[in-house]
Amino acid sequence: MAARRGILARIRKAQGRDGEEPTAAELAAVREAIARHEVGPQPPFAHAPDRLAQFRKECDRLGTTHATVSSLAEVPAEVARYLAAGALAPAVAGWGEFAGLDWAGAGIGYRNRPADANDATGLTGCFCAIAETGTLLLLSSPAAPKLNALLPETHVCVVRAARILDTMEEAFALMRSEAGEPPRATFFVSGPSRTADIEQTIVIGAHGPYRVHAVIVP
């Protein structure tokens, strides 16, 4: 605790404020500034007239593949098509939210559980998506483990079209209204993992997935 006292006192002395700790009035002023949640200027393309097109364009740029289906019930067939096209095994470790779909009918083994190191494909939903950057936003919870989006070499994510927003600021506002506060992990995924650490050459597939596929449903 001596360190805390020392640091705070040094800050105050350097900036010409008396005392060793912030006063109640100073803290109240900080909270007030925070509560304004001032939004800064945003690039023009963040509010594209065709939001879905902007989302798809940014996904393409990041290497996130995407497909659009006409109902949630069609997701298993789309996942089967995607896995077969990539010569990937027809098995996924997925969230409970999607366990009730007809996976067996599409020839896919569905494991309703958090992914482990041996799963080749993980399936998740998302809290929302962000068109400005082609980003999927996942909020962690007991029903939404992050591992399914992280450990497997392939990550398939179900995105509801109505939950595609323009910007990160809008996503934060929605999170405040629906969840109150950020959960333990607020996870923004923008394409497959990559590195450019050797000779600044981009290589897809560093520690996270090699492939990210978004299935857009109404």
């Binding site: 607020t186 290589v203 520690h207």
Partner: protein, 465 residues
């Protein structure tokens, strides 16, 4: 060894020169393209500087607010005045929890305080998991760039290190090398007891820390081990999630021209009951280690730094000598300011002078830090505190004497220009300067041609009349 000696060594290292040339174009062109596409760069830059200044102006209150919210969410907040204290705190957490292995994602603050050494001394095996940092750990070298730590290494050099470390056949292609490292590191993620990360910002509103990566290693580190330790500087605090949204539009664009990094992860507290993943304990270590010395004066602006690396990518000195020449963890223009302040001006030698004052760094800096002005202030302090060598101080004093006496200055420059022109001989180049042979060893100096500026100016004014 000081910057000057190290720099001339690096200038003679042809392999390094080649590696640095390859990197330069990718960083500079990538950023230029991203900025051009963005449309409102200057507006967002100004707002970013403002939100950083807002928190820095009341740093103590923002930190206390952050601490309150992080604690409420179940994290343990620690404060460290010095590098030694920071290391002792993390080593203590490791000891109390019987930690044998720690997996680390990239953290410049941990480099700053020498955390790896301290943990190893406490019997903890430390594994760097960012690919660049992993390569350097194998090579037993410090990073040479804050964003791309192994920028000075070629793929052949990396292949060599991997053969030794992994005991597998030599690889020639970068994707294969990356996969081999992925496989080597996967086991460490799953078996580590402690994950250590930095935090690009900490958010007061929510008590949140965060990581920004492309590889996904930070997500492994913050999700898999049972203990998560965040080590970061006290200046990293910002107010809101919206402030983060502004800053994160600038950071990857400035760093490498990316619109967004593959992963951005906000981490708030340890795992909840019933959650399948996440650490049981979360510790946050807030480190001062010199930062408060920058507060309250002209240098406070330096604390806005978001560690994007744009200033070094655009610096002609850095581009030629690389990061190791700067002698400490922070290279390039930002390092030329932070190193003297953190380790003491008297220990930083030539660093404030490792610049051509071309101004590119200030143009590139996403939070508008006037880097050349701050370097000039440090030079002045060096001069005032008599920290420069006496011949240099004498020369500056003599120049100052002449420059404030116009007639004397005109006379001396006229004579000097004639003498230098004569020394230049038939090819107009001076190959040796008596007393300044350090300068002419690696290059020739073009000899002045014809008359002095003032003579020409007077002539033109005369003609016009």
């Amino acid at each position: 060894m000081f910057f000057k000696q190290r720099a001339s060594e690096k200038l003679g290292d042809e392999l390094l020169q080649g590696n640095m040339r390859k990197a330069k174009g990718k960083f500079v062109d990538g950023r230029a393209k991203a900025v051009a596409e963005f449309g409102v760069w200057e507006e967002v830059r100004a707002h970013a500087a403002k939100v950083r200044d807002r928190a820095l102006a009341n740093l103590d209150a923002y930190l206390v607010e952050f601490e309150a919210n992080a604690t409420r969410r179940g994290a343990v907040v620690h404060w460290a005045e010095t590098a030694e204290e920071a290391c002792a705190i993390v080593a203590g957490i490791a000891r109390d929890n019987g930690v044998r292995k720690a997996a680390k994602s990239k953290s410049m603050v941990s480099e700053e305080v020498n955390l790896n050494e301290a943990l190893e001394a406490a019997g903890v095996e430390v594994i760097e998991t960012d690919l660049g940092e992993y390569i350097l750990q194998l090579a037993h070298e410090p990073p040479s760039h804050i964003v791309a730590p192994a920028v000075h290494k070629s793929k052949e050099q990396v292949a060599e290190l991997f053969v030794k470390a992994h005991g597998k056949p030599r690889l020639t292609e970068i994707p294969a090398m990356t996969r081999e490292a992925r496989e080597a590191l996967r086991g460490h993620f799953l078996s580590a007891d402690m994950g250590i990360s930095g935090s690009n910002f900490v958010i007061a509103e929510t008590g949140t820390t965060l990581t920004v990566t492309n590889e996904g290693n930070a997500d492994m580190v913050t999700t898999l081990p049972r203990i998560h330790v965040v080590i970061t500087g006290i200046e990293k605090v910002i107010g809101t999630l919206e402030d983060f949204a502004t800053l994160i539009r600038l950071l990857p664009r400035s760093a490498i021209g990316q619109t967004v990094t593959n992963y951005l992860t906000l981490t708030t507290g340890p795992k909840m009951p019933d959650e399948a993943d996440g650490p049981e304990q979360m510790h946050i270590v807030l480190v001062d280690a010199g930062r408060t010395k920058l507060l309250g004066g002209p240098m406070q602006e330096m604390l806005r730094c978001i560690r994007c690396g744009a200033c070094m990518n655009h610096c002609p000195v850095y581009q030629n000598v690389g990061g190791h020449a700067y002698g400490w963890v922070y290279p390039g223009p930002m390092g030329s300011i932070l190193t003297p302040v953190y380790v003491g001006l008297e220990n930083a030698g030539d660093l404030p002078n490792a610049a051509t004052f071309c101004g590119e760094c200030a143009v590139a800096c996403p939070v508008k830090i006037p880097l050349p002005d701050l370097m000039r202030k440090l030079r002045e302090q060096q001069f005032d505190r008599k920290l420069r060598p006496w011949p240099e101080r004498m020369a500056i004093a003599a120049w100052g004497f002449a420059a404030t006496r116009p007639a004397l200055y005109a006379f001396l420059s006229r004579v000097g220009a004639r003498v230098a022109a004569w020394m230049g001989g038939s090819d107009g180049l001076i190959h040796r300067l008596p007393g300044l042979d350090g300068w002419t060893k690696g290059r020739d100096m073009p000899a002045p041609q014809g008359r002095t500026f003032r003579e020409l100016y007077a002539l033109r004014q005369g003609n016009r009349r």
